[in-house]
């Protein structure tokens, strides 16, 4: 049994996960980052991406959009805008969001709007990817 550490994943609308976890892999700006028990204190931001954590020897996956992680000796906290399990993702809604965003990207819009749409597209694509990968 690998050593475990306390992990809390809190989304804006709920406490997504709170408990012991032995291995955590997050997507950061620079790429994937694995965290085991006893990791050095660390703060980094999480863009929209995938997240996996091991509980009782089983990998669990989640789609996360925008947030940050704070790794401390006693526990790790992830604060995110939203966090969903693959089976919770509404594929239809995500697909609609993707189409809407793609349509908006074709329009001429201001830089601010462009970034907002890009972020929306990112979130939709991420949801679809995570759900297709882990939930069949």
């Amino acid at each position: 049994m690998a050593k475990s550490f306390r992990l809390e994943i809190i989304a804006t609308d709920r406490v997504f996960f709170s408990g012991e976890c032995s291995h955590l892999v997050v997507t950061t700006i620079d790429g994937m980052l694995g965290i085991l028990a006893g990791h050095e204190p660390l703060v980094t931001t999480l863009p929209t991406g995938e997240l996996k954590y091991m509980v009782d020897g089983k990998w669990k996956y989640a789609a996360i959009s925008g947030g940050f992680i704070e790794v401390m000796p006693d526990k790790s906290i992830i604060l995110a805008d939203s966090c969903e399990l693959p089976e919770e993702i509404d594929i239809k809604r995500a697909e609609e969001a993707r189409e809407r965003a793609e349509e908006q990207m074709r329009q001429k819009q201001s830089i601010k709007d462009y970034y907002l749409t890009q972020a929306a597209l990112n979130r939709a694509m991420n949801r679809l990817k995570v759900s297709q990968k882990h939930f069949k």
């Binding site: 804006t12 609308d13 980052l33 050095e40 660390l42 703060v43 980094t44 947030g67 805008d81 601010k112």
Partner: protein, 303 residues
């Protein structure tokens, strides 16, 4: 002697109002339930966000990041201050709007030069108030394009608000940003509150839900403190604004429910008093009629 018809009309009109206030009471209590649910599910995030940021800032090395720039070379009277004020969209919620607006005006009065004061008002009532005050004399300027509703707060709306003020801060259009909202206490009371958003001052942190202060070892920032702060601070600002919106919305519903409840009660009291008056007037009218009939009959007999 009050007119019977007048009293009856009055009772009828109060009954109509009673129906409205009662319906509004029911509606706001169901809305409150929803707002409470949102508040309860957001408050772990809100509390954790504040404690975590506090923790992170303890370990943040000196940084040249733009949001930490306190611009101390600008004298206090020239500093441009921005206030985000959260009010409600509708009236009829007791002293809720009155309290927050009066509190905000007190805060604004502290600003040395009123021309350097910029208001970002959320909610129709506050916007109308500050816009109409704006026309006479030296008053703070209200951002006219800042139009956001207060109904059912969303993260997306909070993000837009956060981006508006952050980009103004970056462009030197604002030197300090404050957030004024109604804070919901755990026991159901509410009161106005100010939180400084920008620039980041490390000693000014609100304590978290548990109120503990821990000494933690230094953390490393990946890829660099500046990069992390660049995305972390907008995220935090957004989270804070969202939390404030949820709390304010919940307080608003609570205030409306209380106000409508007391309006319903006092309408019922008034109806009770008026029906007593009505019955008395009716009775005395009947008594008078009988007296008239009897005295008329007596008069006939005497003849």
């Amino acid at each position: 002697m009050p007119n019977i018809r007048e009293i009856r009309e009055r009772i009828d009109s109060i009954k109509q109002i009673l129906k409205i206030t009662n319906a509004m009471y029911l509606m706001s209590s169901s809305k409150l339930k929803k707002a409470r649910k949102a508040f309860d599910s957001t408050s772990p995030y809100f509390d954790a966000l504040q404690t975590t940021i506090q923790d992170i800032l303890v370990h943040t090395p000196h940084t040249r990041q733009v949001y930490f720039n306190r611009r101390e070379n600008i004298p206090p009277e020239k500093r441009k201050k921005g206030y985000i004020i959260i009010t409600s969209d509708k009236g009829l919620c007791g002293s809720y709007n009155h309290n927050i607006i009066r509190y905000a005006e007190d805060e604004i009065a502290k600003v040395p030069d009123i021309k350097n004061c910029y208001l970002f008002v959320m909610g129709q009532v506050g916007r109308m108030h500050f816009a109409s005050r704006n026309r006479s004399g030296d008053k703070p300027s209200v951002d006219g394009e800042f139009l956001y509703t207060m109904q059912n707060p969303t993260v997306y709306r909070a993000m837009e608000v956060a981006q508006t003020v952050l980009s103004k801060f970056e462009a030197d259009e604002l030197d300090e940003v404050y957030l004024i909202y109604t804070d919901m206490e755990k026991n159901g009371t509410y009161q106005p509150k100010t939180v400084q958003l920008l620039p980041f001052v490390r000693i000014h942190w609100v304590e978290g839900a548990d109120g503990t202060k821990k000494k933690l070892p230094k953390a490393s920032f990946l890829p660099s403190p500046e990069k992390v702060m660049e995305s972390l601070i907008p995220n935090y600002t957004k989270g804070l604004i969202y939390g404030a919106m949820v709390e304010a919305f919940c307080s608003e519903q609570q205030a409306r429910m209380t106000a409508m409840d007391s309006a319903t009660t006092s309408a019922k009291d008034m109806i009770k008093d008026l029906s007593l008056l009505y019955n008395r007037a009716r009775q005395s009218a009947i008594t008078q009629e009988i007296t008239e009939v009897v005295s008329g009959a007596n008069g006939l007999q005497e003849n």
